[in-house]
Subunit: 455 residues, 2 copies
Amino acid sequence: MKDIKEIFESYLKLVENQITFIGRVRSHRQSKVVSFLVLNDGTTINDIQVVYKNDIENYDLVSQGRVSSIFEVTGNLILTSGKPQPFEIQATKINLLDQSIEEYPLQKKEHSQEFLREIAHLRARTKTFQAIFKIRSSAAFAIHKFFQEKNFVYVNSPIITENDAEGAGEAFVVTTRTDGKYSQDFFGKKAALTVSGQLNAEAYAQAFKNVYTFGPTFRAENSYTSKHAAEFWMIEPEMAFVDLSINLEVIEELIKYIVNYLFDNNIDELKFCNDNLEAGLIEKLNILRNSNFAVNSYEQVIEILKDAVKNGYVFEENNIEFGLDLGTEHERYICEVVNKKPTFVTNYPKEIKAFYMKQNSDNRTVAAADLLVPGIGELVGGSQREDNYEKLIKRSEEMGMNPKDLWWYNDLRKYGYYKSSGFGLGFERLIMYVTGASNIRDVIPFPRTPKNLFF
Amino acid sequence: MKDIKEIFESYLKLVENQITFIGRVRSHRQSKVVSFLVLNDGTTINDIQVVYKNDIENYDLVSQGRVSSIFEVTGNLILTSGKPQPFEIQATKINLLDQSIEEYPLQKKEHSQEFLREIAHLRARTKTFQAIFKIRSSAAFAIHKFFQEKNFVYVNSPIITENDAEGAGEAFVVTTRTDGKYSQDFFGKKAALTVSGQLNAEAYAQAFKNVYTFGPTFRAENSYTSKHAAEFWMIEPEMAFVDLSINLEVIEELIKYIVNYLFDNNIDELKFCNDNLEAGLIEKLNILRNSNFAVNSYEQVIEILKDAVKNGYVFEENNIEFGLDLGTEHERYICEVVNKKPTFVTNYPKEIKAFYMKQNSDNRTVAAADLLVPGIGELVGGSQREDNYEKLIKRSEEMGMNPKDLWWYNDLRKYGYYKSSGFGLGFERLIMYVTGASNIRDVIPFPRTPKNLFF
């Protein structure tokens, strides 16, 4: 018994051999003398074509096999002229292992993405979602491999937390009660789903120098956009003893490593995405892995955007001045129109960034660096962390937080703390970027968005 | 600038060389002429000893460096007679980069595990927790590597869910309200934290043949034991087209792969655990990786336990008969006293197992297999899944569930479903097993248990 992936990898050695495999029916076309079964077993996005004659054993049963039924096939591998596949199987024996019902929702025709989202338990059987979710799986592994090779320690930061990190997004409450009496709750206090593992990662970076998290994070934001989900995965590396410049190096190296890993291991899936999801995807990724990312300070970006407006370019937010929280339109203009490649923007105004970012000596910017990529906008957000205890406390108070809530985080600065830098990479945005999928709900197996909780 | 890990890996080449590195003070011992700094940077559990004389530049400042302060040291690497380390650094220049306060809680002395849990933001700096969490990180990577090499697709099953899987543990509710009016809630319905990703993984196994999840799961159980936490990580592989026997093979191969990976990559940490957490740990793990796991049917186990009782062995639950839900004491007796190695128990009574397990033809057992290991009890639980739609519905109704709640899961059987088998491996139990840590709260960076939510 062979996986179909193995057959494709070694078909030249299998010519005229008798092979046996199991597959699910993608299509079944019959004619008087010969019939064609197209089967896939999920181990590859490539389908195998089986030819059988009407004198085959159990022909009556076999010929009734519907789309999505499971067949076991034994037959000879024969080279063909190459379209769509370089070989086919001439069956000598076929078993219908399990018949599908006629009302299988995924018949061989075009379906809208919206319809496919309603059958999230089945959509991964389509080539599009096989490609996306194989790439997602490979990219996840590439990320682990990258960090493990560099001796970063993988840390599972907590999912249930008593703090909501930067207080940014609204947090989901985790409870066993229906009355909001949290002092009598499971944890004896209000508990929330984490919006970031960064603060915990920082504590661990002080123990291991280099660490990374890779886990789910949550936002109870009522956003109905193609880029927001209530549940998504984040990678949050943290490095002790280094400054912002190392952050930029590691981010660029990481992104290129992932893309190179996909070229090495998922070229079939990338080609499929190139042909079906984003024309030019492979060229875009080739540019990425072969060029140096651009670097602009926030101040430079503001000047560039002002010039653009002066020259007649119209943004929805056209009032460009220092202090502006860049929108996706501005981010995309910088990396798509101006630099035409991934771009770091550094040293943002402190007012629009989190309390824990290191304040620069100019007293108005922080040592932050976001990575903007064409088509997406912000893919990575990072910074050097404030190492001065008093400045950290003052800044968190200015931003309306109670420093006591994060006593342990602040205290890290008391016990020997020499620089720390890190970043957050949104895993789904990365997958959108490398597959060309345009909606975040299509890169998450079972996406969660407002009023949308199924499966 | 070198990591201390690099220095240990290449110290023979660095003899008499001048090197520079950064580290945190584990201890600082002064005498009239020479002083000793023991530094660690977290990249290895090994410490580096620095010797400096009282004529070194900035002696007054350097000599005041407290435990947990950060130093940058430049000096010559000199071989020593080998205890505790084979070399030391004779400093030529020392910078105190950041001074710790005097009240640093982790002074060089023995601390109780209970005290260390109260400073979870600092405890990873101790050798014990450095060893445990490095092993945890490596084991996680070994698991990904094992499955990726076998072409399993990593699937992120959802964390927020509308179902609580087998209805076993109590589930946490996820909400943005305080009044329990879930129809007006974020998702428009009651939402819970997942207790298992298996059902979703099964849907994906039908698309990819072989898949695995690796993510957090949750139980709102009020258990105050050393083996239960409210938040823990699970690995749940699922394989289409195979039966229970393959499950056993993959489980055994996986566990051995992880242990071998740790021997190859974490021998220092394993030795530390052997010397400090569980005497005999390395021998135990060597037995595991060099022997074949035992297999007993549940029925055999009952006979063995009956015989034990007959011969005077006393269990807390001494009433042994078919139908008994084995307790940890029974599980440990089987693998520790009888087989003296990891043991699969197969074909449990259907009454004590989940609705989705395949019913055997004897009509009273299911095709389940749990793996019991010495010292822990159940480490893995697995089964072949029921493939017959009618039997599945009937069994879930018998167990008091409403089949409509899992319509999509049940429906998988309608659309061509030929066998599926899988298992769940509790990640923390695995880490306890391979480190010898006796409490689950010591293998989770920031553990969550009843009334315990800090950091």
